[in-house]
């Protein structure tokens, strides 16, 4: 698309003029509609136009003028082609690979939570964030890594900034990984608690995956399509049987678990799954989750275009003042923390310095893959916002508010949500639950169930009608649970390697991955880390998501700040500082947001926001010898207080890491400025 537009022929000018006009009209409709619902299509069209123009104008500007990509320069894939890791790959094929690697649960969950402030603030941040921050980071990190033989972010930080910043960044990345795994696991627990249909379906994926694994290992090795077809048939059967299980008075109780029980099971699963051979469970489920993810995203896009639903959520709700039930805190900075993936996600800097740079055929493909794939993820985030906003806002708040605020039965919940200005009857809440095949939809926080109800509403309008809503709901839950489980499993392995690598800097013996004691100890540490935060989240008085999602958002944005610091240094070292604002502007914004949010999470006087205020509230009550719900007994009270201090300490660690990286970054920039010649440590062209 872009390469054809380069010529600037009459036709391409006309096309871009149409895109610009269409985008302007769509944004105009969104901006001028007040007090009436608008069609979701306007949001989608505005997003597509902003993405196309952002790519054409800003993405290509960065690639050509700032980075001066050189299509003639041999890439690592060409120089080091081995047919395995380094493989020159068609740009469209590689785009698909890169997109599949960056798109996960993040862009689906963040916008759903942010919808409590209305669809407008979140959508504007998704669009502005991706064009000026997220896609810029992905593009430049991909470029930097491609120029360095596809080395990883950690290695590049070590070589461009030094060993100490290298170790600091590694500690930061490990902490982020642990929080990420905890929050993802919490999303599954929240979606499956007291839901026999969902629980049965997700449990059933394990035997299905093992059958696939054995088939692919011994019967028909390497036949991905056959294995996946078998698995897909198994999944559909699991959803259908799950409906019967939920309806059965004998079987339903057997698959009904509390959040605590599911959390413990998931922790045990995480440990076992991450030491099993990958071909048995992880790889086959990876096929299913990857293909289902791509298929569902495509299906949702098609569904939105066919159904063209109206957005029921107001453009801006009164919860922009920070009093919202889904997450606490003002629009600034917490909106920009809540939506990380989809606008800017630091995690992508690990992916963009992973397998993709080793497969780039020509530097000319870097903008399409680095900038373009991130725009696509941003589009997924906009669709998630649409799915959350097509719901009746009262249903949205009933789904996403903790029990502490709306109570545990439909009558209390309807009264609470109605008192916020979103009128609904208890019968209407029960009816939604019945339609999606659940006993209750109250306080199903974490984003996944909300997205599933929204998707079920859209997809059942295309296929099956209201009678199919329960099927589509559980299909959506299954799709999210599958790829979250895959990430938990693969992420635990990565965290284990990181722990062994870090321990190796102290005692080299720990690095030996053939040493089973070391492997098991590191795995136990990794699982124990995320498991601890998961369990704390499940028992959290405010529902867990309220605590863990902001921590994850802060961590993810701080990783982006670290990556953008590195990109800025590289621009100075390349003597391209004239254009350093390209990375410094988003970097400054991320620093302002994350440092403010981090500070508020620790010190804010409101116990719903500040960890220390929350701890002192519980301490006061404990001091009087009383107990504050939902804690039962003094032991649990002490546990809540201890959790608050750990969370505050973790927040402080994130702040310290990012400030340390900033100081080292400034020193590296000063050194680069003193030098007369470029000092970037690129791999020489001559290396064969």
């Amino acid at each position: 698309m872009a390469t054809r537009a380069e010529g600037g022929s009459g036709l391409s000018w006309l096309l871009w003029a149409i895109v610009a006009a269409l985008g302007a009209i769509a944004l105009g409709v969104i901006a001028l509609s007040r007090g009436e619902t608008i069609n979701a299509l306007w949001l989608v069209v505005a997003a597509i136009c902003v993405h196309l123009i952002g790519y054409r104008v800003y993405g290509l500007f960065i690639a050509r003028r700032v980075l001066r990509i050189d299509p003639a320069r041999p890439t690592p894939a060409v120089r080091r082609n081995d047919g395995l890791d380094f493989v020159p790959t068609n740009r469209i094929v590689l785009f698909g690979h890169h997109f599949a690697a960056i798109a996960g649960a993040g862009p689906l969950v963040g916008p759903v939570l942010a919808a409590q402030m209305g669809y407008l603030p979140g959508t504007l941040w998704i669009l502005a964030g991706v064009v000026f921050a997220g896609a810029v980071q992905d593009l430049i990190v991909l470029f930097v890594s491609t120029r360095r033989d596809g080395r990883s972010l950690g290695e590049i930080i070590r070589s461009e900034m030094g060993d100490v910043p290298g170790v600091i960044a590694m500690v930061g990345i490990l902490a982020i990984m642990i929080i990420l795994l905890a929050v993802l696991a919490l999303i599954i627990v929240k979606a499956l608690a007291d839901s026999p249909w969902g629980t049965f379906t997700v449990f059933a994926t394990m035997p299905v995956a093992i059958v696939m694994g054995l088939y692919g290992r011994y019967l028909r090795p390497g036949r991905v399509a056959e294995v996946s077809a078998i698995g897909f048939a198994g999944l559909l059967a699991a959803i259908l049987v799950g409906g019967e299980v939920a309806a059965s008075p004998i079987w339903a109780p057997a698959f009904t678990f509390s959040g605590e029980a599911l959390a413990l099971m998931l922790i045990g699963y995480g440990f076992v799954a991450s030491v099993l051979p990958v071909w048995l469970l992880l790889a086959p489920r990876d096929y299913l989750s990857t293909f289902l993810k791509i298929g569902t995203i495509l299906g949702l896009a098609i569904g939105i275009f066919i159904v063209r639903p109206e957005l029921q959520m107001p453009a801006v709700t009164r919860f922009v003042d920070g009093s919202g039930p889904v997450f606490a805190g003002n629009l600034f900075p917490f909106l920009f923390i809540t939506i990380a993936c989809g606008a800017v996600s630091g995690f992508h800097s690990l992916v963009a310095s992973g397998t993709t740079p080793k497969m780039i055929e020509s530097e000319a493909h870097i903008p399409l893959i680095g900038y373009g794939a991130m725009l696509m993820e941003s589009f997924v985030a906009v669709m998630a916002m649409v799915a959350a906003s097509v719901l009746d806002p009262a249903v949205y708040f009933a789904l996403n508010s903790p029990v502490a605020l709306i109570g545990a039965n439909a009558a209390d919940a309807a009264a609470a949500v109605s008192s916020w200005g979103f009128a609904i009857t208890p019968a209407a809440l029960d009816e939604v639950a019945r339609q999606v095949g659940e006993t209750s939809i109250l306080s199903r926080t974490g984003g996944a169930p909300t997205l599933a109800v929204g998707m079920a509403q859209i997809l059942s309008d295309v296929i099956g009608g209201p009678g199919m809503m329960a099927f589509w709901y559980h299909f959506a839950i299954l799709f999210e649970a599958l790829f979250i489980l895959t990430t938990v499993d693969a992420g635990t392995r990565v965290a284990r390697f990181m722990i062994q690598d870090l321990a190796g800097t102290v005692s080299p013996r720990m690095r030996d991955t053939s040493n089973w004691t070391g492997n098991l100890a590191a795995t136990a540490l990794a699982v124990g880390g995320w498991g601890w935060f998961l369990y704390q989240g499940v028992t959290d008085p405010l529902g867990g998501i309220n605590t863990l999602w902001p921590l994850f958002g802060i961590a993810n944005q701080m990783l982006a700040a670290i990556a953008l610091t590195l990109c800025t240094i590289v621009l100075f070292k390349m003597k391209r500082e004239r254009f350093a604002w390209v990375t410094m502007v988003p970097l400054a914004w991320l620093l302002v947001c994350t440092l403010t949010a981090g500070w508020q999470k620790i010190f804010h006087a409101d116990p719903r926001i500040g960890f220390l205020a929350h701890a002192s509230r519980y301490s006061d009550v404990l001091g009087r010898g009383e107990v504050l719900a939902p804690a039962k007994g003094q032991g649990q009270m002490r546990q809540v207080i201890f959790n608050d201090y750990v969370n505050a300490a973790l927040c402080a660690l994130f702040i310290a890491v990012v400030l340390a990286m900033l100081v080292y970054g400034l020193r590296a920039i000063a050194a680069a400025r003193r030098s007369q010649t470029p000092t970037a440590m690129e791999t020489a062209d001559a290396v064969a």
Binding site: I92, V93, V224, C341, G491, F497
Partner: protein, 62 residues
């Protein structure tokens, strides 16, 4: 692009999404660069890449 090429590219994309590069391209590379050495069989290739995908680097996002 002819239909068959579209199908081929789609299959290649799907395989690479789960960490499997193109086996034919690997063979072609071995024939040109290392004609005297044995190449991995399709099954060995598949096992090697599967193990690599879940090795020591973060290959996916949240």
């Amino acid at each position: 692009m002819p239909w068959r090429d579209v199908m081929k590219r789609t299959a290649q994309t799907a395989r690479l999404m789960v960490g499997l590069p193109d086996y034919e391209a690997y063979l072609a590379h071995r024939r040109v660069a290392h004609p005297d050495e044995p190449a991995l069989s399709r099954v060995e290739f598949h096992r090697d890449r599967t193990a690599r995908r879940f090795g020591d680097s973060a290959s996916r996002c949240c």
